[in-house]
Structures are given as C-alpha cells and as structure tokens.
C-alpha cells in the first residue's frame, strides 16, 4: 500500500530490546546493572502512517503485528491515560475457546493458539496458566447446553467434555456438590485448555514488542477530534497537538462509540460497567476457573493466592467506573452458595471497567464508511481473550486492504444488512 512511505525506511526506530531470561536476570543481578526501559517515550510527530487510538491490548497488539508481520512501523498508539488503564487492566483475564458458533470457535481458537506461544514471541512472560475452566450446570437445561457445547467443541477439535459431580468434587474439593445446595450442581462443562493470564503482562509485552519494532507509544495523549475530508480520514487532534495520518484505528472499547462519533461514524454500541473484586491472598486451593451462569459468578485464584471474582454487567448503561455495594453483596452470596466454607475470606478491593456491548454479542471489526478509519471494537465482556487474534487480523487488513476471512462475519455493515452473528448464548456470563 502506497501510504506506507517508509516501510523499510523507519528501521532507524527499530531497536533490539534487552533480552529477558533467567540468565539476564542473573547477570544483571550480579553486576547490579539497570534494566533498560521496556518502551521509550517520544515527542509526538506531526504525522504517522497509522494512528491507533487506545492503548489497551487491542491497540497495542495491532501496533505490534503491523510492525512484526507487515513491516509497518511508522505507527503511533495514542492513550489518554496509561497503557492498560482501560478494560485491559481491569478484566478478570479468563481465556478459553469453547464457544458455540463456528465463527466464534475458529476466531477464539486462533487467539488461544497465539496466547500459547505469546511469552516466547514477545520475550515477556505473560503467565498464561491453562488450569482448566469449569462451567457449572445447576439445572437440567444448563446441563443440556453443556452437553451441546461439548459435542460441538469435540467435533471442532476443541478439548471439552461434560463431567459429573464426583469428578467436579475431585477437581475442586471446596465446591458444595451435595444435593442440599440451593442450586445443586448437576454437572459441568470442563475445558482443560481454558485458564487465566496476567493481563497487565500481555499489555506490557505487546507495548515492549511494538516499541522494539519502532512504533511510538504515547501515554497521556487524548484524542479530542478526528479530521475527515471528502470521506477520508486525515488525522486526529489531541491534547498534545494535531497528528496527520491516512489511517486511524479505533481501539477504545468502552469509549469507542464516542471516538467513532468524532469521525461521524455511528456504532450500535452501548457502554455498560462490569464489576469485579479480589480477596486477600490465601494459600492456593483452587486450581480451575469456575463459572456458574445460574449464580452469575465466576471465580479463579491467582498465583498470588487472591481469589478473583466477576459477574455479569451492571443492569444499566453508564461510563462510571465505581463499584457498587449491591454488586459485592450479590457476589459474596453466590460465591458462598458454591463454596460455603469461604465465609471468612475477605474482599480486598472492588472495581469496575467499561464494556462496549453490541446487540449480537459479537465484535465490530474492519472498515467503516469513512475511508482509512477502521474499528476494532464491541469487545464487551469477553474481548481480552481476543487481543492477539484481533491485532493480527486488523494488522493484516490495514496492510493488505483485504478483510481476513476470520473476521469477515464481524463487519459493521452487518447491522444495516441484517446479518447479526449471535454469540449471546456462549458469551453471557462466561467471559
């Protein structure tokens, strides 16, 4: 594509980062030498080939793959606060691929594959912990859905199966699998490759990788307007000055409808807060990630020993990132329904992030009516796991001008043309 003038010219920005390994750790420890910056800060240039709005996992992954896979390095990622300050630093980091639709399964499966090698690819340990993912069934209808997902997943080569209460008890001795539970556990969909990841590490790893290839990461840089002329995007206005760019990518999740509005593009997105909470650390006792749709709760234990909880989105649209008391009350009640012996465990912190919900629970990715203005949005409550594959496919689209088949179903035009995807069934509380 002609707009990328300095495709190989910008190698001057390219630098090899200090390697991360046990050996380097030892060497620097011995010599007491300082580690170099993971990413550098730069002056804002008056123009870039590609401007990415939003420094979350999606924006940074797109920048990384543009450079790493396509040699497009004159790229700026503009972040109004600090990188990972949006949903990417607030999520509960569940990764899985046991989706229901073929589009969904293919897409998320690719993402899990990318995650599996991400630490090595980025030379940054993202601590992907494939500890197994259990979706509990408390009713015969939930059990039926679990069987259905298992059957579909098996046929698509995704590892998942339905297990019974005895096996569940073996995996998670703390669960109340008795018949006396208010909502007895009848079975579960077990997905061994599912798990959790260190979300910040993914963000930082991509930032470091993108920086190493020459992309500029600008924190505290807020996009205030988008210039469009003759149906083409021309650049952005920021609190640090104007930037000209033939390509602007909207990766702002919870804020994405506001950013698109700046370019005159309306998105069918409503922003809802999603809350989460974490407890004080206790000795490890919970291996698998547990999800209960009936009780609207999911639980995992981090390597630090904290329990991380989440639920479904707040029942009303809002841009507020404050937590509510009702949320923790409901959450605690549901956790104790599942694991009654944890009453004395203490909640340490609660918070909220923003979720950009679409009508069909599937993302919006690709071109828009404004030429050069791309979107990678609509990530709702489930977009962290999609970071790598989204970056990869968005980079491919920008570099080649062709929509990769993996994301063809997720285009913006589907809302006008009535081709909704419908991942509701598999996305809901499961994240």
């Amino acid at each position: 594509m002609s707009i990328f003038t300095n495709r190989d010219g910008s190698r001057d920005g390219h630098h090899k980062p200090a390697g991360y390994s046990a050996f380097d750790l030892f060497r620097r420890g011995l010599l007491g030498t300082q580690w170099p910056r993971a990413w550098r800060s730069h002056d804002l240039k008056p123009s870039y080939d590609v401007v990415i709005v939003g420094g979350g996992v999606h924006g940074l992954a797109t920048a990384y793959y543009l450079a790493a896979n396509h040699g497009i390095t004159d790229v700026a990622v503009l972040e109004k606060g600090y990188i990972g300050g949006g949903a990417s630093g607030r999520n509960t980091a569940i990764i899985r691929s046991n989706y229901l639709t073929p589009e969904g399964t293919r897409f998320y499966d690719r993402s899990v594959k990318l995650y599996e090698t991400l630490a090595a690819d980025l030379n940054f340990n993202v601590m992907f912990s494939q500890r197994g993912h259990l979706t509990l069934a408390h009713s015969d209808s939930a059990l039926r859905t679990s069987r259905w997902r298992a059957e579909v997943n098996k046929l698509q080569g995704v590892d998942s199966e339905v297990i019974g209460p005895e096996e569940i008890k073996k995996l998670v001795p703390y669960l109340d699998t008795s018949e006396h539970a208010r909502y007895p556990i009848l079975g579960a969909l077990y997905h061994p490759p599912g798990g959790i990841i260190r979300h910040d590490a993914v963000v930082w790893g991509y930032a470091r990788g993108a920086d190493a290839h020459g992309a500029h990461i600008h924190q505290n840089t807020e996009v205030l307007g988008i210039e469009v002329a003759n149906g083409r995007v021309r650049g952005v206005r920021t609190n640090r000055g104007d930037v000209a760019a033939p390509v602007v990518v909207n990766c702002t999740a919870g804020w994405s409808s506001l950013i698109s509005e700046m370019a005159g593009v309306k998105l069918p997105i409503t922003t809802f807060p999603l809350q989460a909470a974490v407890t004080e650390p206790v000795r490890p006792f919970l291996e698998a990630v547990i999800v209960s749709g009936t009780l609207h709760v999911y639980v995992s234990q981090t390597d630090r020993g904290e329990l991380v909880f989440g639920a479904s989105v707040d029942p009303f649209p809002s841009y507020s990132m404050r937590g509510s008391l009702e949320f923790t009350e409901g959450l605690a009640g549901h956790v104790l329904e599942l694991m009654p012996s944890l009453a004395k465990l203490r909640v340490l912190r609660q918070w909220a992030g923003l979720c950009d919900m679409t009508p069909d629970f599937a993302p919006i990715m690709g071109i828009t009516p404004v030429e050069g203005f791309y979107v990678d949005v609509g990530w709702g409550t489930y977009g962290f796991k999609a970071g790598p594959v989204s970056g990869e496919t968005m980079a491919q689209l920008i570099a080649t001008g062709k929509t990769p088949p993996l994301i063809a179903a997720f285009d913006l035009a589907r809302f006008a043309e009535g081709r909704l995807v419908g991942e509701k069934g598999a996305a809901s509380v499961g994240h």
């Binding site: 059957e151 007895p184 930082w204 009350e329 104790l336």
Partner: protein, 956 residues
C-alpha cells in the same frame, strides 16, 4: 528453644498504666504456634505475645525476612495471623480470647527457621516483576515453574469444611454517620445530636477515644469528658469494633459491625443524609536499610503498647522524631523504664541510616554515622491522611508540602471531614472544628429531611423548622512538618508485598513511571493494607525517581472497601428463598420427586412419569403449573404493548379470548412465549415461561419506561398471587363440570383458546382458559393462591372415579414432545431466530412495528439457518440423548437433537431437533452422532407433532 511448657510470666508486662485497656483480674491462656501463652482480657493477640517477649510474628512475602510489629494497629502488616480456621486475622487488632489457637502464616517449617529465607540473599536477582522476565523458555516447563511461584503465595489457610457461621444485615436510616470515634468524631457526633440529628458513631477499635487513649493525664481527662458527653447525649448510637467500609452513590454507607455476641459480623447499610469522615491520621513508616526488622516500630505503636496494653516495647531504644508525637513517645518510653539511648531529632538534622540484626534490631546507625546498640528503634516521621472514604465520594487528595501529607480538596454537600484529616492544631482547635462540622452536618441533614417530608402528602400541616444559615466551620491550622519519606539508604516501602524503594526506582527506570503503572508492576500498595501505610512513601520515591514533584505524581485511586470485609458479612444470611406453590404439602404427601426449577422447587414426577402421561391421554391428570410467569396488564394501551412485544397480531383479540404469542429480542432470537388472555376491555393476563417470568417483566418495564412512557399500561407481576392448575385429558371437562359454578363449559359456549372468569369449587375470581400444551382437551385454572390447595384437593377428590391422577414436569415434557410443542430455552437457544424455530406462522411482518421486526424481515428473505423439525429414529428403541449432533460426511455439523424421549403413547422414540435447511424436507434420513461415538439414523417428519398433528383432541 522454648520447651512445650506453659509460659506463665509476661516479662515485658509493665505495672498498671492509667489508660490501660487490659483487665488484670481476667488472665487466661491461648496457643501460639503450638505453645501456650498467658494473656489478660483486653489484650490483642500481638500485645499478649509481646508481653511474653515474642518479637517475630511472620515472615515476609518474598524474601521471608522475619517480621515483627510495626504499627500495633489494624494495619500492622507483619502481624497477620491464622486464628483457628480464619485466615489473615489482624493480630494487632483482634482481641485474644481464652483457648484461641493462633499460628503464624507465612513460615515454613517454622517461624524461627524459615527455609525460604534463603530468598533474602537472592534479592538482587529478584527485581520487581522478575517473573515477567524469566520462565519464558522452554514454554512447556512454565506450568512447573508456576507451581513453584504459587508456593510463595502469602496468606492464611482456608478449609473445605469450615462452618459457614451466622452473619446478618441491618438497614439504618440515620441523619448522620460519623466515621471515626476519636476526639473529633466524638465531638462532631455530640454536636450533631444536640442539634437534633440522629447519629451513628463508628469506631474501628474496641473503644472510643482515638489517640487520646494513649495520651497524657490531661488528654485522658478530656477523653473521659468526651465519653461522658457521648453517653449522655440522646440520639447517638455508638458502634465500636466496627468500621465504615464504603461510601457509595447516594450516600449509601456500608458499616461492618463486629461487636455482636451471637453474630460473626453484621453489615449495616445506612442511607446517611450526611457522612462525617473523621478517621484521624495514620502514622507513616520511614524508609531506610533494615526498616523492616522486628524492633523497628512507629511512635504510635510504642505509645499504644505502653499505655493501652502495659507492654514494654524493648529494653534500649533509639528514637527518630520529627514531631510532638515522637517526643511524647520518648517520654513514654522513659516512663516505662526503657533506656532511651539516643534521640535523633529530624527537625534538627537527625536521621537514621540503617538498622542491623538477624531476628531483630541489634544496632542502629545514626545520621552522623555513629552506631548505637539497641533492641528498639522508634520512628515518628509523619502522617498519612486516610482520605479513601472522601475519594469514594469524588474527592481527589491534594499534596500539601508544608504539612508533608495529602489533604482532601473538594468538599461536597453530603460528605464532610473533620479531625486530623482536615488539619492540625491543639485539641481545643480540633474539637471546635469538629463541633462546628457536626452542627453543620446536622443542619444539612435536617434540611434534607424536611425536603423529603415535603414530598409526602400529610393530613395536617406540620411546621417545618426554618432554614438555618450555614454554620461557619473554622479553618484548622496546618503545622509545618519535614518531608521525610526515605532516608539515605534503601528500605522496604510496602511491608506486605515486600517491595523496597530500590524496586520502585527500578520500575520507574524501566518505564513503569506513573503511579498506576508502578503500582501494577511492583504490586506496591496492592496488599492487605491497601496502601494506607505505604502509598505516600511510594509516591514520594517515584516522584524523586522521575524528577517530578509529589503533587504532579499524584496518588492511585482508592477503591472500596475501606477495610477488607468478609464474604460472610457481604452475603449476610444468603437469602435465596425457595419458592413453593400452595399445593406443595399435597405433593409431598403424595411422593412427589422434587426438582429445582429456577427459584422454584416443583414435582418432577410422582413415581412413574410414563404412566402419568398415559393417564392424561386416557383419563384426566392434574399438573401444578403455579410457577408459570403471570403478569396482570391493565390500561387502554395494552394492545399497543402486546403488538410491540409479540411478533404476532394483537389488535383483534376479543374479550374472552386467549392467544399464543412469541416474543423476540431485537436480533430476532426467540425470547419467550406464552398465552395471553383478554379478561375485560382493558384487562389482560399474560403468562410467560417459568424461567422467563422475571426477565419478561424487566423487559416490558424497560420498554415502557424508556421508549413509551406515555403509554397507559400498568403491569403487575401476579405469578404467586395465583395457584395454577392444568386439568388435562379427555375427561377434563367432566371433572371441571363437577366443581365449576357459574361458567358454561359446553364446547359451544367455551371453545378452544377462550378464557372465562368464574367460580371453581366455590372459590370466586378464578380464571379458566382452554389451551393445550399436552395436546389433550385441557383447562388451565388460575385460582387465588390462598385457595390453591383447597381447589386442588377438591379436584382430586371429585375426580377419583374419573381416574384423575397428578402428573409432574417429566410427564408434561413427554406429552408436549408427542404433541411437538417447543420449549423456549430447550428447543431454542440464544441463537435461534423465530423463523428457524418454525414459528413463521406467528410472525406478522405487515405490522407497523414490533421488537425484532427489522432483523426478522431480513431473515424472512434470506434465512438459511437450521430448521426445527420432528425426527424419529429408524430404530424406535434408540433414544438419542438430547444434544446429540446430526452430522454429514465425517464430522460436518448439520443439526442437533434438542428434545427426545420414549413415547408411551406411540411406543417408540421421538425427537425434536434442528437440521440444516437442505435436510429439512420430510422423509429425509439424517445421521445422528451419539455422545458415545456411535451413529444412528433418523427420519425427518412432516410435522413437529408426533401425535394428533391436526389437534383434534384438544379442540374437542
């Protein structure tokens, strides 16, 4: 090593102190790490251990360095212990009890010899975030590395069989909540109550008084006076050992109460008109080499130990003081018989360079390089204002370099601050500020109260008190304090996370140079003290590393809760009531097998579902369908509402008729279905699925309230106001005839899909409609709930000779499957559009508008999604389990079985299922992949119904 005998002396216990809280007449023992220790009632776990001379209470998180007491308060990071089955107990706060079993948490194999303490020598190789930089290759070893990392997780133990315990909740509606029961909080509460407000005064510790408790004779005198005032003044509820845990929108204040005899903890939810925040100040540790050694303590810790618990903190001390509290600590130490070997006065250039020792301080290197042998180092280097409750109300703390601490910045209408958090000054100045704040809080609260009352209609006019002018709150002085955060050496900043000043500088240099990134990368401030002890030091060190001011650097956002809160307290009594129908006693007496169905428990069957089903086909059966969602709709605009909600037509429904309706969401996916009847000109009764009852109500309200607030419709959920009984079978009319009073049941007068209101078994106001989920002649009777059991028993009684029997959900499912009626949520899912569910006959695209119309219009033209069809396995003895996939070729998914059973009526297996459009033609043979891997074949049927497809039986 100590022998296993009982420790009887308390070598560090002092003689009686004027303000002590221990009761020397109530001695007892408890267990610490397997050995028995003495204590007095009133001791905290740690004060009792300290009295016995213990100094090491835990090992640090990362380097497993020995840790002792630091603050002697709730926040004490090294004093978090296991008590019985309770993890992470704050040992410097929790009162010790006779027989308590207490143990150290983070030590292996023992506190004195900790195997992981080798980590302390490896510190230089474990910089912040070291785990991000290693264990990368080979990837396959990461799971093993991860297990090792997990071993270092700090924290206590949980047990799978710990009893739940009793927790509860309370709602409170005070005018004012005062957070903090120190002098300012007490004075504010008294002033507010005197002005006529009802006040809840909340104090984290076991008694009121704050810092006055460990003060001088004069201060103790002032404390007695204040306590008397609080006790004397009506309208103040005092909660000690309780904490204001959070302030949420609308001044919704969460208070955790721990001082109740028979309740583990109680969560009080108070809608406070005004919240007064008076938590005092938290003393800040000082950062230098060795600052985490046992024996390095804060001046407030020393004063608490001596004055409250009569415990001598050490034998020979060095004191670093920058303020009057430090000076007072020197006096206290001397009075307690501690030799004060050196006082380093920071106001005159004094400093500490480092502390040394193995399991406790042995020697301190002072600012001038001289070394002093000692076992105690007391620091008084400044304060942190715990502004988090204010921040939860939108305040942003602002740094004041003169006072070397953060202050609140934005006052709000319903949250006020007083006490140390607002400024310095003498006790009199503080109390004056607090009183004025209390009066102003009362003025505002009472004004809000009368505004609220003005909105309530009253029979007699009540004179509201006149509006008072705002009370002038005097400014508190701000006393100059040296900015002391880190000395000349590096030391621990975050004691719970084991993060040093070096780590913070290293993180900043690596690019994690904003507060938020530094916090996330190093995990400083993320531990159990929630940053209360360490934030300001961390910010100051980061500021220096990045060449910015503290003001520019700012703090992280404080989030609720104020103090960690148990799941038990948050959950309360876990109120998830089970719902039963009024007929439940009958079901239980008649051997019903219970089944959880959402919020309900209902009969699955009464022993033999197949014969129950057969009886419906042959005679007559009764099923309890009370859980069906029921909504009473009234108003002239109900038809508009129904037309919006349902895909089918509702303008033409006459009084006395019922109609089946299908609801879709905007995406055309089937949301719910049910029957709605028109009972009067402007009166309708809607039924929903059992599981959809709440969702549909919410759905309707959200459309009415947000899109059509002008429509005149009232929606009232009446699900449990009526008991619902379905009478089904060829003899159902005969049975109903025997009990129905005034309704003409003849087929001509009461045809299929009609509704009548009348008397059943003498009970007036029953609705009866003729519909047929089972495919038989049937009447659904909705009886005022109180008469449900009576009517049910009457029907059973009167129908005995007709062969009436109850049937459960399982028989109903068999019957409806024979009849080909779909169940939303079983035969449809979150993806199923109305067309693919075979509901095209119901969808009226000519209607002006309805929810889902644009999407369904498109689907009507180019839908090629799977179709719901009836299926029968060729081998009638094979019942393919539900969710079996229909496949083509090797593994191509071409559909699935959604419902299946052995039909007692037909004597063969029958199914409903989805198939790809090209397989939907009747007569097509499809391959079913069974979950066990075997394959079988099935035939696509002409109708969804396997039995009586024309519906002659139900119309009869």
């Amino acid at each position: 090593m100590r022998s296993a005998t009982v420790q009887t002396r308390m070598p560090m216990r002092l003689g009686p102190q004027p303000g002590e809280v221990i009761d020397r007449h109530r001695p007892f023992t408890f267990t610490w790490n397997g050995e028995r220790y003495p204590a007095f009632a009133g001791d905290t776990i740690i004060s009792a251990l300290a009295a016995s001379g213990e100094r090491v209470f835990s090992r640090s998180f990362k380097y497993h360095r020995p840790r002792g007491l630091l603050t002697a308060s709730f926040l004490d990071p090294g004093c978090v212990v296991q008590v019985n089955d309770e993890p992470n107990v704050r040992g410097s706060h929790r009162r010790v009890e006779p027989g308590m079993i207490v143990s150290a948490q983070n030590a292996w194999p023992s506190l004195r010899f900790d195997a992981k303490s080798v980590n302390r020598f490896l510190g230089r190789f474990l910089p912040p975030g070291f785990y991000y930089k290693t264990f990368i290759k080979p990837q396959r070893l990461w799971p093993a590395y991860e297990k090792v990392l997990q071993r270092f997780a700090a924290g206590g133990r949980t047990f799978p069989d710990s009893p739940h315990g009793y927790y509860d909740k309370r709602y409170a509606h005070p005018d004012i909540v005062v957070a903090g029961g120190g002098p300012a909080g007490m004075a504010a509460a008294v002033a507010a109550a005197e002005a006529g407000a009802r006040v809840i005064l909340v104090e984290e510790e076991y008694e009121l008084g704050g810092h006055l408790r460990w003060g001088s004779e004069d201060e103790l005198g002032a404390l007695r006076e204040l306590r008397d005032e609080v006790a004397r003044t009506p309208g103040i509820e005092v909660l000690t050992n309780s904490v204001v845990n959070g302030r949420y929108d609308g001044n919704w204040v969460a208070i955790l109460q721990r001082n109740l005899p028979h309740v583990e903890e109680r969560l009080i939810k108070a809608r406070a008109k005004v919240l007064v925040v008076a938590p005092g100040l938290i003393e800040r540790p000082y950062v230098f080499r060795g600052n985490d050694l046992p024996g390095v303590i804060l001046s407030t810790a020393a004063r608490r130990l001596i004055n409250l618990f009569a415990v001598k903190p050490g034998e020979r001390a060095v004191v670093l003081t920058a303020n009057a509290d430090g000076d007072a600590a020197v006096a206290d130490l001397e009075r307690a018989g501690v030799e004060v070997a050196r006082v380093e006065d920071a106001r005159r250039g004094g400093d500490i360079i480092g502390a040394r020792g193995r399991n406790g301080v042995r020697m301190v290197e002072c600012g001038d390089g001289s070394r002093v042998e000692c076992d105690l180092l007391v620091t008084a280097t400044g304060w942190t204002a715990p502004t988090s409750l204010l921040n939860m109300a939108g305040d942003r703390p602002v740094y004041n370099p003169t006072a070397a601490r953060f202050f609140p910045s934005r006052p709000s209408d319903d949250v006020l601050a007083t006490g140390g958090i607002s400024g310095d000054g003498s006790l009199d100045e503080l109390l004056a500020h607090a009183r004025a704040t209390g009066q102003e809080a009362a003025r505002r609260a009472l004004k809000v109260g009368s505004a609220l009352r003005a909105g309530v209609p009253r029979r007699v006019d009540v004179e509201e008190p006149p509006d008072m002018p705002p009370i002038e709150i005097p400014e508190l002085p701000v006393v100059e304090h040296p900015e002391l955060f880190q000395g000349r050496t590096d030391g621990i900043v975050d004691f719970s996370e084991d993060i040093s000043s070096k780590d913070i500088v290293a993180a900043a240099k690596e690019g994690y140079d904003s507060v938020e990134l530094m916090k996330r990368y190093t995990t400083a401030t993320m531990g159990p003290t929630q940053g209360k002890l360490e934030t300001v030091n961390a910010v100051a060190i980061l500021a220096r590393a990045t060449g910015k001011t503290i003001e520019e650097t700012g703090t992280t956002v404080w989030r609720p809760p104020y103090a960690p809160i148990t799941l038990g307290a948050l959950a309360g009594r876990n109120f998830e009531p089970v719902r039963y129908s009024p007929m439940q006693p009958w079901h239980e007496r008649h051997g019903a097998n219970p089944m959880v169905a959402g919020a309900w428990i209902r009969p699955e069957h009464y022993g033999d579902p197949e014969s129950e089903a057969r009886n419906v086909r042959e005679n007559v059966g009764l099923i309890d369908v009370t859980p069906l969602g029921k909504l009473d709709l009234r108003g002239p605009d109900v038809p508009k509402l129904l037309n919006l909600l349902y895909v089918n037509q509702w303008n033409t429904l006459e009084v006395g008729k019922v109609r089946y309706g299908v609801m879709c969401a905007e995406d055309g996916v089937v949301l719910d279905d049910g029957v709605t009847g028109r009972l009067g000109p402007e009166h309708y009764l809607m039924t929903t699925t059992t599981s959809g009852a709440a969702t549909v109500w919410e759905w309707i309200e959200s459309w009415l309230q947000t899109e059509h607030p002008d429509w005149q419709v009232h929606v009232t959920p009446v699900t449990d106001a009526y008991a619902s009984i379905n009478i089904a079978g060829p003899k159902s009319r005969e049975l109903l005839l025997r009990v129905a009073g005034d309704v003409d049941l003849s087929p001509e007068a009461f045809p299929y899909m009609n509704v009548r209101t009348g008397t059943v078994a003498g009970v007036e106001g029953c609705f009866m409609w003729r519909i047929g989920f089972t495919g038989e002649l049937s009447y659904e009777v909705h009886v005022p709930a109180a008469y449900g059991l009576y009517v049910w028993e009457k029907l059973m009684d009167r129908g005995a000779d007709l062969g009436v029997k109850p049937f459960g959900i399982q028989a109903q499912r068999i019957l409806r499957l024979e009849k080909g009626h779909l169940i939303v949520g079983q035969d449809t899912d979150g993806l199923t559009g109305a067309y693919s569910a075979g509901l095209s006959w119901a969808i009226k695209l000519y209607k002006e508008d309805f929810i889902g119309k644009p999407e369904l219009s498109w689907q009507s033209e180019c839908d090629n999604s799977f179709q719901l069809v009836g299926l029968q396995p060729h081998d009638g003895s094979v019942v393919p389990p539900e969710a079996s996939q229909i496949v083509e070729g090797e593994n191509e998914i071409a559909g699935r079985i959604t419902s299946s059973c052995m039909s007692p009526t037909l004597g063969r297996s029958i199914c409903l299922g989805f198939v790809a459009p090209h397989l939907a033609e009747p007569g097509t043979s499809v391959t079913v992949l069974l979950p066990n891997g075997e394959r079988t074949t099935a035939r696509v049927m002409e109708y969804l119904a396997h039995f009586d497809p024309k519906g002659e039986r139900q119309r009869g």
